[in-house]
Symmetry: C2
Subunit: 445 residues, 2 copies
């Protein structure tokens, strides 16, 4: 290992960004960094559910990766997709060409998993990207628009039924926001339907929602959700999702909108490493977060399985941030030929928000819920948003929503930009009329 | 005509919104309104170019139509596409069913026209909808991303060449914003390319840009654009646009990004009325803005050709607003069996902005340009934005951009929401790597 290194980072999420930041802050002139991502923006995923439910705009929670590192000549940001890794010759293959590395950090994250039912994705999108968030927003708002002028009672009921699969934080936050939206935001918008008659059903396979939280907080969260009109089905497995129905336990629900928040699998780039993966496709890493037998390669964040005294580190932003900083430190140790450090996870706690003004928060033995937890939740999320501009814009919109029950981003955008000129009514016809919001394919071509 | 009326308005733009507002304000209980639009939002089109150039987010300039009229039981907002009008039996046909009317107001607006070259649309999108704006944003930002890692000098030059067809306000504002973006915003973002080497070419068929302005202001605007590095080609006709080139006059330019701002045609719904249309497909209306022989049907805004002492009323927001209010007044006159009034256009002037801190403004004999004009421009546009929230958000982002040369909404979003999970690199491969930004179809599967 020379005194200089070219560090190639794949992924501009919480993990990758923090590897680069720490390296640049402490690495001086011995560091050269290439950060590769398929997207041009860092996405603040913890708030993505608010884009899906029309509370925030995409740009409020997305920052161009270039802008984060602007002006530093030691780092190159590259828009490309990593496709393979040649560990022997230390080359990362991307669709934009090969990139040789001295150190490689894989921080590619995870996507939602359908446990062998990938065919459900069109019907039940997950929530990992801005496009998925605006698609969910389109489906939800379109369902209300269609219900407004639907004469058939059964069909109206189907349109106003929203099923969310998965009772983890994402599912709970989506359900809370949908309850909020239908109970307060949309009530005065519609004439023929009473949006509060909306059914929001949260389906969880386990005995309680928010299983990673203390039971008392799970129950507090459940009660808060029920106050917002959300129906909870625990210990219920989803066995089938078809064009109109969701089969959950013994129930068969007619639902126009189904959202998937039931588990993730790691980026498949890990499969190219020829090492052991866990059931979720995560790479099992050494205590210093490197690959067994390949100390120059690190895997972090949702793509890595890190076990501390037998318990895996949770797949949340603070863990990815800590791992990113730790990897950067170990790379700097390498440059000084000093020994690496073992990763230790500092648990700052976990939180989830429910609707407009309540949340659950747990840190060590501390348990909080209600408005106080919600204020702390909001403060911390604004604090961690990258960029003063984003913080200010999000803060203003939250204040606005809090007092006005408003959700400013209630606009329906369509997948295809070509369809929206005023060409002939014929050519713009059905596409503009909400078709089955459950199947956007019908709105294509 | 009874003392009550059901007014059906097609189009939620400046014209349609103001018909409804005025009717509801002064019509009391004798008024029932149905407002029909293909989209669920009112779009503040004068600022759409800022979404296309990453200055603002879609939701900043779009307001849900329902939200504008929330709480008033006399109006129904309906998401549907009007497909035909049966003047004899007074029924509007939509893809969501038939809607009978007592008064009908068509305010469907206009779309960009390619003068018989509709095949150019994919290569040279116009700017009328949010989807078109985000598509243009994607192409522009993707072109810079690709140029950053393009080794071939010629190809890099092609990627950094932006051709804008049409020297009216939209073309000038797009060109100014692109010059701004490449000269200031992106300069520190990129390493391998010098964004200020970007070529922005504004092609105008006539002898000068902004032909509706006084010659002196056209020249002031031209000089301001040249300061931002924009090349002006006046008296130049675009004869051909192919995959790589734009044929303009004797020149053949290689350009990855081509934008169309060269004229509009009215909504084709006018063709269903069996009345005389002008070359731009606009309906020639009577002095009271109604259809000849059909006093119960009005056509306003970009869809109407209104001539006052031989000169057509310009297709700008203030004209549409005035026409909307006037139509509402005449409908109320009908209810009182009092005679209708002839429409008079009050010319409050015209403006166009160039880049970050200059604009041209003309009102009667008044001519303004530079910072003062720009401040007035900004003030008036914020004033006319619907909703305090939008005003505040836009104001903050403009202040931010002004002092930081920042453009916050610099995110690339893709047309298809399905492509962006972290599935397999194989499946996400080329799609994420910017393909030819000039042809988004290549990015579809």
């Amino acid at each position: 290992m020379t005194g200089n290194t070219h560090v190639v980072i794949v992924g501009g999420g919480f993990g990758g960004i923090n590897v680069a930041r720490t390296l640049l802050r402490h690495g001086g002139s011995r560091i050269r960094v290439t950060l590769i991502d398929r997207r041009n923006h860092h996405l603040f995923q913890p708030l993505l559910y608010q884009v899906a439910t029309a509370g925030l705009s995409p740009a409020d929670i997305a920052t161009p990766i270039r802008a984060i590192f602007r002006g530093d000549p030691r780092i190159r940001v590259r828009l490309a997709t990593a496709t393979d890794v040649d560990l022997a010759s230390r080359i990362l293959t991307t669709d934009g060409g090969d990139v040789p590395y001295d150190h490689l950090v894989l921080a590619c994250g995870a996507t939602h998993a359908y446990f062998g039912h990938e065919e459900w994705e069109d019907r039940a999108p997950g929530l990992k990207t801005i496009e998925q968030a605006t698609e969910i927003r389109r489906r939800v708002l379109t369902a209300f628009e269609r219900a407004e002028f639907e004469s058939d009672r059964e069909e109206r009921r189907r349109l106003l039924t929203f099923v969310i699969v998965g009772g983890g934080p994402t599912g709970v936050e989506l359900a809370g926001a949908l309850g909020e939206l239908s109970r307060y935001t949309l009530t005065r918008d519609f004439r023929n339907i009473d949006p509060s008659s909306t059914r929001v059903i949260l389906v969880e396979g386990g005995p309680r929602i928010l299983p990673t939280f203390a039971p008392e907080l799970s129950h507090k969260a459940a009660r808060s959700l029920e106050k917002l009109g959300v129906t909870l089905w625990t210990e219920t497995q989803v066995t089938q999702i078809d064009e109109r129905h969701v089969h959950a336990g013994d129930e068969i629900v007619e639902a126009a909108t189904v959202l998937w928040a039931a588990g993730v699998k790691a980026s498949s780039l890990g499969e190219k490493l020829g090492v052991e993966l866990d059931r979720a496709g995560r790479v099992r890493v050494a205590p210093d977060l490197s690959l067994p037998d390949h100390p120059e390669v690190f895997v972090i964040g949702d793509q890595a399985r890190v076990e501390l005294d037998g318990r895996p580190v949770p797949g949340i932003a603070p863990a990815a941030i800590q791992q990113g900083r730790h990897v950067a430190k170990n790379i700097l140790h390498d440059l000084r030929d000093s020994p690496r450090e073992v990763f230790e996870y500092h648990d700052h706690g976990i939180m989830a928000t429910i609707g407009r003004a309540t949340a659950v928060l747990q840190r060590g033995t501390l348990r909080l819920n209600g408005l106080v937890a919600w204020l702390i939740w909001g403060f911390i999320h604004i604090l961690y948003l990258i960029g003063f501009r984003n913080r200010l814009l999000v803060f203003i919109q939250w204040t606005w929503s809090y007092f006005r029950h408003g959700r400013g981003a209630r606009i329906i955008t369509e997948p295809d930009w070509r369809l929206h000129g005023v060409h002939s009514p014929a050519s713009t016809g059905r596409r503009h009329a909400p078709d089955d919001p459950g199947d956007p394919r019908k709105e294509r071509s």
